[in-house]
Symmetry: C2
Subunit: 594 residues, 2 copies
Amino acid sequence: MGEALNGLKRSMMCGEVRETNVSQKITLMGWVQRNRKLGGLQFIDLRDRTGIMQIVFGEEINAEAFEKAKGVRPEYCIAVTGEVVLREAPNENLPTGLVELKCESLKVLSESETPPIYIKEGLDADERIRLKYRYLDLRRPDMQRIFMIRNKATKAVRDYLDNNGFLDIETPMLTKSTPEGARDYLVPSRNYPGMFYALPQSPQIFKQLLMVSGFDKYYQIVKCFRDEDLRANRQPEFTQVDLEMSFVDQDDVMALNEGLIAHVFKEVAGVDVKLPIKRMKYKEAMEKYGSDKPDLRFGMEIMNITEDVKDLDFVVFKSAIENGGSVRALCLKGGANLGRKQIDKLAEFVKTYKAKGLAWLQIKEDGVKSSIAKFLTEEVTNSIVKTTKAEAGDAILIVADKDSVVLQSLGALRLHLAKEFDLIKDKNEFNFTWITEFPLLEYDEEEGRYSAAHHPFTSPMDEDIDLLETNPGAVRAKAYDLVLNGEELGGGSIRIHDSALQKRMFKALGFTEESAQERFGFLIDAFKFGPPPHGGLAFGLDRMIMFLAGTENIKDVIAFPKNQNAFDYLSEAPNIVDKKQLDELGIEIAKKEN
Amino acid sequence: MGEALNGLKRSMMCGEVRETNVSQKITLMGWVQRNRKLGGLQFIDLRDRTGIMQIVFGEEINAEAFEKAKGVRPEYCIAVTGEVVLREAPNENLPTGLVELKCESLKVLSESETPPIYIKEGLDADERIRLKYRYLDLRRPDMQRIFMIRNKATKAVRDYLDNNGFLDIETPMLTKSTPEGARDYLVPSRNYPGMFYALPQSPQIFKQLLMVSGFDKYYQIVKCFRDEDLRANRQPEFTQVDLEMSFVDQDDVMALNEGLIAHVFKEVAGVDVKLPIKRMKYKEAMEKYGSDKPDLRFGMEIMNITEDVKDLDFVVFKSAIENGGSVRALCLKGGANLGRKQIDKLAEFVKTYKAKGLAWLQIKEDGVKSSIAKFLTEEVTNSIVKTTKAEAGDAILIVADKDSVVLQSLGALRLHLAKEFDLIKDKNEFNFTWITEFPLLEYDEEEGRYSAAHHPFTSPMDEDIDLLETNPGAVRAKAYDLVLNGEELGGGSIRIHDSALQKRMFKALGFTEESAQERFGFLIDAFKFGPPPHGGLAFGLDRMIMFLAGTENIKDVIAFPKNQNAFDYLSEAPNIVDKKQLDELGIEIAKKEN
């Protein structure tokens, strides 16, 4: 049973009441956090999205409200009217803790069954239950705070881009399927049975068309879709801050986006991002950190000890070097004390990254201990120690293999050690880096050809253009990623706007003129009509909010997320539909084969 | 072939150059609108989204640029650098018309083929060509202006709602199909073959859940989808300004939205919307204008002459009245001069609205002429003239039938006459009206039961609640539409938050407890946990922009629209997809039956 408002108006929000309101008669509305009996009085903590306010009921204050209050249970939705007074026992921990409301009138707007989860901060409940009762999970103050942060962040993005001449333009959701990139979500067409739309993986082509149209600067905060098996922290539908600019080069796009990021982090988190954001070339990032998104909150760079060990009579090192690979190492400060079991675990860890094993040296007070002691000479040991700058008490952890395996496994080990040994000292640090000069092309071993590392419209660096035909793998792109604390926050590129260069690019990718036209026809056509030089960038908004809100679970920053199988526990989607609906679309459920 | 920017920076936009820039050396970039040879010089009109600037080339200014300029054709994308000087022959019609740029350096950034449509204002080209080459159509200044208006309007909406404590929260695009309302667009699930998501027709249920969660005030500018046969000015994907508020009644929601509309129309169009916006009850709108979205920019109300003619011995009127219907009329000022053919055409017009015919009286200088003269007495004629307030020179146009036919046909005739005889004097008027007190339920003749006029969560008016069981058709809803110049701009309602009342509503709609649970289960469940009183509204953003931009074609306000068959001429979506894609989804194209 619920009482009607009947014209009753809320005066302010629960969390806003202060000493300045003392002796005012106000009306508050919200949810009952708890209801206690104390010294002949009834105390209700009333909650709304702004905070909690104490409401007091008593025989002397108002007998009817007092009686009614006794029956009120947690999560009832109520309205209370009364006078604000100073508390006898102030609560310094609460913004409203100096005052309370003496309730003269109480309306129970709606009752509540006992909720299946606690409405409190830092709840540790089964995720499935939280998702099924998402509307209750979202009542929890820490969840509410996240969506207030998300709201503030998107507003800050929009304000900044608007102030910088960007136009917010919507691109279509029902678009064309292209068998490129990730798997599309398809939408059957009713007007053209047997044909399908695809939900966009990104508005890439449309935003480039908008540049051809002369809109000059475009942005959109837009839903994108990928039907992939969901790794942790991926969702089938996610949100991008997508932008594109005309008549710009790489530095212009990067400068604009640095300003954007600085504005958002300042507005939302009060963080001063030091500009310009430092830059690191892809090659350096890979060599030093084994990653194109290095976490620079701690050091422990990968060091190349190939020269130091090249004459050792150790077959693992030798064959790696002879096959064009390398021997590299991490120096773990204080690692000399690791026990054998701990080191074995690290060896297991690097094996998941295809390393064959982990060699190690421990620089103890009483000398060097090593898994490859019998192959080492004192000279080589000293040389390794010197190159890795190891000191007494440290451990040197070594992988030898082809470069890609060495760098990837040591890069992963570096992050693993940082977590294991708590190497990141300042948990509140926001360490931004641009990664630049990405390879334009990646060699696809399976297909036996090059594919676009970014996408086929990414411009090569001017000085590398002539390598397109002679040494495609060495061509660097005008592409840039913004990395924060070891995560990719966003990325983009300058696009090719010259049709002759675009043709050379398609050729390098193994397209014939016909196959390129078939796949990218309408963009190629558009580029016949005076396309401007242009480039852009897209940020993952969900990830940005994760940083701003300090959560590591993407589901925390999406109001109604899906599980790892793209299932929605709340609405129970996907579900079975009427045969009539399928008939109209001209599709059938495939018979299962036994 | 395109030249690279090579670090060249744009100084300002073309439309921004003024006398204050004289003697400055600047760089502009844009598209060639035209290129003329005149008195040994070359003049290029350079265009970007802000306007046009004249660039002059000459042997004396810079011989190389001059030579290059001769080869430049319309829609080439170029960069020019030079000094701003005063024009010898100023053009007062152009904001930049007092100055020109003496070009010392020209870069052709990209060339253009001859465009298939003219890049000019007010183009009258085949829509199919315009849509196929949408990127060129969007280059036209009038199209660019529309998307700048759209950008400004969405910004104004967001700013206003943000200032009023609304949180921008995203709701899912992949959601549950419910066989209610319009036809869903379906999305096959790969993880659950044979099951489907649906694209949202509106975020209605999710926004109500957000109120249950205590977010208090929610808004979103969001894509919605309806797979319907497209009438003019409908698109399969469209954009809503969607909002919902807690602890409010109808007046609160209406006041907030009046403020929103006034802010947007002021910011974007400089229009002062007089607040409060006038209100009209549904019943009055139907009786006076035969429509729940009356165009109030002109009068010509429908008048009931049943009493005046009830004793006439004219079978058409008689049977209408005897069957519970009525006889009603419009008075067309100056209509006495209409010829027989013109009146016949009006009669044809009302027949498309199921009226059986149109009776008429013309009040001429020399007496009354009428299609029903032989049935009229002088007394009845005078009585009709008095009731309809007709004067010499006017025509009275009459329909007799059951009320719904009479009102609908005269309502339509009223709008038709307004267009035909140009009755709307002020074309720039924005005439806003709220329509209130809508019926809660509509009787569905086919199904033989009541259905929700708005949706099943709409609250009845307090004073009508007890009619739910006794006279459901008479129950009025706490629902409101905002009407502008005869079009519905938006609509909403206060929702039921009391579960006992919700049960009575479901019963009135013919649901059993089980069938209600099956259909609306997760919302019904949510309402067990203290839902707050709440209500909201949704505006059609596309239509709002049509008003602000002064266009009557919805395709003009959507960057990449589809045609009447939901086909995209630009990307050629929908299209055929690989069998592999369908196999993964567990669906097949249905075999055509012969």
